[in-house]
């Protein structure tokens, strides 16, 4: 029998906790379980940081600066704290964390079924069955790219790509591109596709506008300082809405503001939200002006909060003066339709969000929208936990650095539950 557990394949069997997923969240949970000497195994369908390896486009960089990349017991130690990691660098970072923590990861082990069994759970995987008292689901928030219902009616001859299928503009046929969605994903893809020479239209629904930097510091510095990211799920005004918010319009680059005005400057046409396809036309909502007004107002409220924080800290002289960014500029009459049957649009790129895949989860804990019902990560089934979802326990929960406080809270809860059993 092996003494060290590091990267050792254990035969399936009995353990206290099965952690599903060896991304940053599952590894952070494993670290906290090890700290508490709780026997566990981390089952990973592929390799450590699998989604970061295989489900991201080539040019993507982390939206948070390097100094913020930290996990329990571990942090960025490189020479460029203000830089942003490329995906290979994120994979290296998470792999280094797995090596450092000695997490008991069993790779290439896909969980195919999770059921309640006695007082615990039966986990069936591609390499055997596990019985555990407790389960931590860390299988990610972005397993499936969501496409809207209207996608079913796309005219023939138009190629569609989800962000999981998209790697770079070299994949696209010559011709126009409609990017649907104005999240970080939508804007980043629209921007690079336009730079590759395509005519690009971006369909804009509700979105979150955010400058990369403000008053001389990265926006993440301010969100951290002001405490916005620490706001708890049970203090947030409307947590259902907060959990569904599109990612803020950011790109991992210290000198670029990615917003709808920069899209317009780059020659990208803005339309309202995609509402449907009819008679060879894509139809867009006439609400573009209002969704932009909402995003501008919300950004300004966030900047007000930062200014107030600086003023109350009497730190005004330490930073450049407050500024406000130009309102989102729109055409007088944004286009309401786009012809799809004349060959001008060759590709539609869906940047319409993601959802977790719980097709293997056979415990009645899903709500009618297919999301796990949980109270700050404590799932409505004894001994079951979920980590790594947006605003799980705090606004920062889905960020790499945001997972630590969550897994510390939840491992304490799990430990107490095990002891009480």
């Amino acid at each position: 029998m092996t003494v060290t557990r590091q990267n050792t394949i254990r035969a399936a069997g009995v353990t206290d906790v099965v952690v599903i997923g060896a991304g940053h969240a599952g590894l952070a949970a494993s670290y906290c379980l090890t700290e508490r000497s709780i026997d566990h195994v981390v089952l990973e369908r592929g390799e450590v940081a699998n989604s970061w390896r295989n489900e991201r486009w080539d040019s993507l960089k982390l939206l948070t600066p390097n100094w913020q990349s930290r996990l329990p017991g571990f942090g960025y130690s490189g020479a460029d704290p203000d830089g942003f990691m490329s995906m290979p660098e994120v994979v290296d970072f998470i792999q280094a964390y797995a090596d450092f923590s000695g997490a008991p990861v069993q790779s290439n082990t896909t969980v195919t079924s999770l059921r309640q069994n006695g007082d615990g759970y039966r986990v069936i995987s591609s390499s055997g069955e596990w019985q555990a008292k407790s389960v931590v689901i860390a299988s990610g928030a972005c397993n499936v790219a969501v496409t809207p219902k209207v996608a079913e009616a796309i005219p023939a001859g138009i190629r569609t790509l989800t962000p999981h299928q998209y790697r770079g503009p070299q994949q696209l046929d010559a011709g126009g591109v409609l990017v649907v969605g104005a999240s970080a994903t939508g804007l980043q893809l629209a921007d690079e596709i336009r730079r590759a020479g395509h005519e690009v239209t971006i369909a804009v629904g509700e979105h979150v506008r955010m400058p990369r930097s403000y008053r001389g510091r990265d926006i993440q510095f301010w969100l951290d300082q002001v405490g916005i990211l620490d706001e708890r799920y049970d203090e947030v005004d409307d947590v259902v809405r907060a959990r569904r918010l599109p990612s803020p319009q950011l790109v991992g680059s210290s000198d670029r503001m990615l917003d709808l005005n920069s899209m317009s400057d780059n020659g990208i046409r803005l339309t309202g939200r995609l509402m449907g396809f009819n008679n060879g036309l894509a139809q867009f909502s006439g609400s573009l002006r209002n969704v932009c007004a909402l995003a501008d107002l919300k950004m300004n409220r966030m900047l007000d909060a930062i200014d107030q924080w600086i003023a109350s800290a009497r730190a005004g002289s330490d930073f450049p003066a407050p500024e406000r960014f130009a309102e989102t500029r729109l055409e007088a009459s944004p286009k309401l339709t786009l012809k799809l049957d004349d060959g001008s649009i060759k590709t539609i790129v869906w940047a319409t969000g993601f959802r977790p895949d719980y097709s293997w989860l056979h415990v009645p804990v899903l709500d009618r929208k297919g999301q796990i019902r949980h109270d700050g990560g404590v799932v409505a089934a004894n001994g079951m936990y979920v980590v790594g979802l947006p605003v799980l326990r705090r606004r920062k929960s889905s960020f790499i650095h945001g997972v630590e406080d969550d897994v510390r809270d939840l491992s304490a809860h799990l430990h107490a539950t095990l002891k009480a059993a």
């Binding site: 309202g272 509402m275 449907g276 909502s285 609400s287 209002n290 969704v291 909402l294 107002l297």
Partner: protein, 191 residues
């Protein structure tokens, strides 16, 4: 919190029962089938372009309801269209619906945010190229080519807070959605 601040915070009264609205939201989240409503109108041609329409019953919360009284609406076309102008044009009633919906939303959002409204007035204008309805140019649509709404709002709030009320009201408005987004319409004839 000091008593003065508490009193000031409780002062907003726009005549909207927000507690009831929030209660309904909570109840309907748990029972989404009760959220299915049907809105209805009936109409009868009078003469020329004049039609009388009535609104009385609707369905919601799992059962039939009636308004406290029947409401009647005359629609007609103005004299420059050689009509008798016995009522507003149907497209003007669209503007009436939009104004009513957005303004109700402003009052409700203001109440929820504890903002006292003193006055809310709106002027609405929609452009239309009637070459569309007259069939002169098939590239011109029948409907509005745009709608402008101008609000004058006097409220105990900053300009930013008032702008946010108006934006949030549009976000939650049924008529704004109906006008800005496509809707399937099925018209049948019973002999």
């Amino acid at each position: 919190m000091s008593k003065v601040v508490a009193a000031a915070n409780q002062a907003a009264n726009n005549g909207v029962n927000v507690a009831a609205l929030l209660g309904a939201r909570e109840a309907l989240t748990a029972a989404p089938e009760a959220a299915q409503f049907k809105w209805r109108a009936t109409s009868e041609w009078q003469s020329g372009t004049h039609t009388k329409s009535n609104v009385r019953s609707f369905f919601g919360l799992g059962e039939e309801h009636n308004h406290v009284e029947d409401y009647a609406f005359d629609t007609d076309h103005p004299e420059i269209f050689a009509s008798e102008d016995k009522g507003a044009t149907p497209v003007e009633l669209m503007l009436v619906g939009l104004a009513g919906c957005l303004t109700a939303g402003i009052a409700a959002v203001a109440q929820n945010r504890n903002i006292q409204l003193n006055s809310v007035t709106a002027t609405l204008e929609a452009g239309m190229d009637i070459q569309g309805i007259l069939g002169i140019d098939s590239d011109v649509r029948n409907g509005f080519d745009g709608v402008r709404v101008n609000y004058q709002i006097d409220a105990v709030a900053s300009a930013g807070e008032i702008a946010a009320l108006v934006a949030q009201s549009q976000k939650r408005s049924a008529v704004f959605d109906i006008i800005t987004n496509p809707t399937n319409v099925t018209v049948e004839v019973n002999k």
